[in-house]
């Protein structure tokens, strides 16, 4: 039965036509009962947006309060079948304030349909959906490019979106996924169940056909994991260990060890209600009896004795999504549930938070609702933990707030860090950044200038520092002049050295920020990756990216240092703008273009006043 079952989710917003798409799939595959259709017609008249026609969107908007608001606020499930397969569809809203719902749906689905509005193309929302779904374990993506009718069924638009999406996966470092693309029009049903005549250039399958035929990428790791769920003792003579095999396959007579106690024995019987088995595999619910009497508790893990490399873990890194209205607190005691095990856990460090609006990383000391972050966690007991990538079932967990009993977060283990970094102690200094800043009577900041050579960064940075200094603020300007001859004097101009240059600048700026200063940096910093790294080291509101957007023709004309000429003559390799790319910032806080020096400084000062 399970081979035939496909669990999939849909990501997109009401505006992308997601609910309509789902309604279409159900309607066109004859999965709407006549009494539901009747009640839908009644509701359509009351709440619908499609005048006299059936509003398919209303079919999937479940709760009454949501119906009235016209939005879905949770995960809703739909069950349907075709002659080939059974389906469970989970539907979640797409805005960033519903990140936790999307994570929930992704954790329970095999496939995600990502909806893109053909008239809008790949948006930040699309990127967010790709990021969250794959982070929580989905390996098969279907990109439905909707409203293709509004582009006159354009193949070019389709191909462009396909290319952009593939690039997105690359930039987000999403690997091991399979993606199919399909042009659809949900309101008319094009390529949903029936192949559209309007897109003759699209030769692949319809959406329903893809769902019917898709094969889920199989697990590659076969290590046995059998966590004990329940000790079955109906009488003195029988002692069984019940649970579900979370990974691999177990046979009668297998040599096994029980962790964390590390005691070894062999399997006597594999018992089920129907019959005793010779072997059992991932997903099977069984009861084991063993050949030796060993003290075993709920949450203990049975693995094969031959798995020598397995280690017990009490410290690991994870990507987590915060699901609680109450913010996280570092080093607070939470309850961690992982497979059948419950332990005490604390978040000891937040490496970075990914801003779900911009997909940028930043630093903060706490997590709030819907934040996704990379953290280090410590538990009070050494147990078996796997990386999520290797064994999903033993690498996924939730944290529960012991006071409120709420599920505060869910996470996937990315790295086992036992022992590593053990000798680095982060001292908690008594004097903090906040105290220093208070003493200096200012808000510490990094103002990061980026732009082509001769775009005017240094001039502007210098003028800005002068103005701030005159106002009594404590500033420092970092640029090539004071760094290349000192801290970075060992670095040349190769790609690698230029990256290292910026890495050091980023950290130095972070330290000076910690000292309470307003740090101004003026480097070309041509690569988005480097700038994002610098941003990720500090809090969201502490980093201001200023893009000095002077056209290259003007920079070349100015050529204050004669460098453009040298690059053109082939005397300088990897010169930004000539033979090395400049990646334009996508969402900088400030863009400066064709203004006088004074106007530009004022523009920045205005921003600082507001911030």
């Amino acid at each position: 039965m399970d081979n035939l079952l496909l669990k999939f989710m849909t990501c997109g917003s009401v505006d992308d036509g997601k609910s309509t798409l789902i309604g279409r799939v159900l309607y066109d595959s004859n999965n709407i009962f006549s009494d539901q259709l009747e009640s839908l017609k009644v509701i359509s008249k009351k709440y619908g947006t499609q005048k006299e026609n059936i509003d398919f969107a209303l079919l999937v908007d479940g709760l009454q309060s949501e119906r009235e608001q016209g939005i879905t606020i949770d995960v809703a499930y739909r069950y349907f079948h075709t002659s080939k397969r059974k389906f469970i569809l989970s539907d979640t809203p797409g805005h960033e304030q519903y990140t936790r719902n999307m994570a929930t749906a992704a954790s329970n689905a095999d496939v995600a349909i990502i909806l893109i509005d053909a008239t809008k193309g790949v948006s930040l929302q699309t990127k967010r959906h790709a990021f969250i779904t794959t982070l929580f374990g989905i390996k098969n993506l279907i990109v439905a490019i909707n409203k293709i009718d509004l582009t006159s069924y354009s193949e070019e638009v389709f191909n462009q979106i396909k290319m952009d999406f593939t690039d997105t996966l690359k930039t987000l470092n999403i690997q091991n996924t399979e993606t199919s693309f399909i042009p659809v029009c949900a309101t008319d049903g094009d390529n949903i169940v029936i192949k559209s005549k309007n897109t003759p250039w699209y030769k692949e399958h319809t959406l329903l056909e893809i769902l019917e035929d898709i094969t889920i990428l199989p697990d590659t790791n076969n290590n046995v994991r059998f966590p004990i769920q329940y000790i079955n003792r109906p009488d003195e003579n029988f002692r069984g260990y019940a649970g579900t095999i979370e990974n691999g396959r177990l046979y009668v007579n297998d040599k096994i060890k029980i962790l964390p106690s590390n005691k070894t024995t062999t399997i006597k019987e594999i018992i089920t209600y129907d019959d005793n088995l010779k072997s059992a595999v991932k997903g099977d619910a069984i009861t084991l009896t063993l050949n030796d009497e060993i003290d075993i508790n709920r949450g203990d893990m049975i693995v094969l004795e031959s798995e020598y490399s397995i280690t017990l873990t009490d410290t690991f890194e994870a990507m987590i999504v915060w699901m609680d209205e109450e913010n996280s607190v570092l080093n607070k005691n939470y309850q961690l549930n992982i497979y059948t095990q419950k332990v005490n856990a604390k978040i000891t460090k937040i490496e970075f938070i990914k801003d779900m609006k911009t997909l940028r990383n930043f630093k903060e000391n706490f997590l709030k609702l819907n934040d996704i972050a990379k953290c280090t966690l410590q538990i009070d007991k050494k147990i078996v933990i796997d990386r999520f990538e290797n064994i999903k079932e033993c690498g996924s967990f939730i944290l529960i707030d012991k006071m409120s009993n709420k599920t505060s977060c869910a996470g996937v283990v990315t790295e086992i860090t036992n022992g590593k970094n053990e000798n680095i102690f982060l001292h908690n200094h008594t004097i903090t950044k906040e105290l220093r800043a208070e003493n200096l009577m200012q808000k510490p900041l990094i103002i990061w200038f980026t732009g082509l050579s001769a775009s005017g960064k240094s001039t502007l940075a210098n003028e800005l520092e002068k103005t701030l200094h005159m106002q009594g603020l404590k500033t420092y300007l970092l640029d090539g002049d004071n760094l290349r001859s000192t801290l970075n004097s060992d670095l040349g101009f190769s790609q690698k050295d230029r990256e290292e240059n910026i890495r050091r600048v980023a950290h130095l700026a972070q330290i000076m920020l910690d000292a309470g200063l307003i740090v101004i940096t003026a480097f070309i910093s041509p690569f988005a990756k480097e700038r994002e790294f610098a941003r990720s080291l500090v809090k969201k509101e502490e980093f201001i990216e200023v893009f000095v957007d002077t056209p290259i023709e003007i920079c070349e004309q100015r050529d204050t240092k004669g460098l453009y000429q040298k690059a053109k003559d082939g005397m300088i390799k990897d010169f930004t703008g000539i033979n090395s790319p400049y990646e334009r910032p996508i969402n900088p806080e400030i863009i400066i273009n064709s203004k006088t020096l004074e106007e530009s400084v004022n523009q920045i000062l205005d921003y600082l006043k507001m911030a």
Binding site: R233, P234, I398
Partner: protein, 280 residues
């Protein structure tokens, strides 16, 4: 799950879903018996065949059975015919359930509800948290990721557990067939004496059917897709007298399962309102 609670129980409504749930519990705890009682909330208006089936089945499996009825119902001689479906359901199902849970201090209750039954149930959790008044708050539900459930509760709070959440009506019947699970004979088509009541075809199950309705009684080939209180449960025309025929009928069904239930149609969003008050 059982390891997480002090005093669990299984709500046994005698229907097909309960039959499957009971079977799953028997399998899960084999060779032991499930370490909790079955609870039946008797509205006093269940089909007679249901009660017979219940007593026979419970004796077979050898589990403890708790039967409870709201005493107020007997006092006022509650009847769906005269009091209407809303009052009857509020008093004999919703209230009665709360009373029996309070009386026995059950902190976890298995239920056979499925998400495919009704729209608001589609948003129900598998572990559904209830406050000390047994109320469900759809805005404050605990997220459920992978197979990890949060079973933490404080005193007097409880969790309703719906292990069949992701099963469909068709799954239920296919599993009943595969595992050969006994069910109440009312699910199979037979010649039965029925009358029209509130737009439904209901069974003349006992002498409490009002006389004026009996005049129109006819014998027809019918079966029931769901079972509840007999005056509130509509029969359908069907010749499906075997599991194969039922599954086949299911595959080609054009109406949903609960279309035969009066209580879902009291008002728009009626199931959601009942759930907020503590109904299953």
């Amino acid at each position: 799950m059982i390891a997480n609670f002090n005093n669990p129980a299984m709500l046994y409504s005698i229907g097909k879903d309960s039959s499957v749930m009971l079977h799953l519990a028997l399998k899960a705890f084999y060779p032991a018996k499930p370490p909790f009682p079955l609870v039946h909330v008797d509205t006093l208006w269940k089909f007679r065949e249901m009660i017979e089936f219940r007593d026979k089945r419970v004796a077979e499996v050898g589990m403890e059975l708790v039967v409870y009825s709201n005493p107020q119902g007997a006092e006022i001689n509650i009847s769906p015919f005269s009091h209407g479906s809303k009052l009857h359901t509020d008093m004999m199902k919703t209230e009665a359930l709360k009373q029996v849970l309070d009386k026995h201090k059950f902190d976890a209750i298995f239920g056979g509800a499925r998400r495919d039954e009704e729209q608001s149930r589609a948003k129900e959790r598998i572990f559904s948290f209830r406050d000390k008044y047994h109320a469900w708050n759809p805005k404050l539900q605990r997220p459920e990721l992978w197979n990890l459930y949060n079973s933490n509760i404080n005193r007097d709070e409880s969790i309703r557990v719906f292990p069949l959440s992701n099963w469909t009506e068709k799954d239920i019947w296919e599993y009943i067939k595969q595992e050969n699970i006994p069910v109440v004979p009312l699910y199979f088509a037979a010649q039965r004496e029925v009358i029209e009541f509130e737009g439904m075809k209901i069974l003349v199950d006992d002498a409490r059917v009002p006389k004026e309705l009996l005049k129109e009684a006819k014998t027809e080939l019918v079966r029931f897709r769901t079972l509840g209180c007999y005056p509130l449960t509509g029969a359908i025309h069907s010749d499906a007298n075997t599991l194969e025929k039922i599954i086949n009928e299911m595959t080609h069904a054009t109406t949903s399962e609960r279309s035969g239930r009066a209580i879902d149609k009291d008002q728009i969003g009626s199931m959601e309102k009942k759930k907020l008050q503590g109904y299953f």
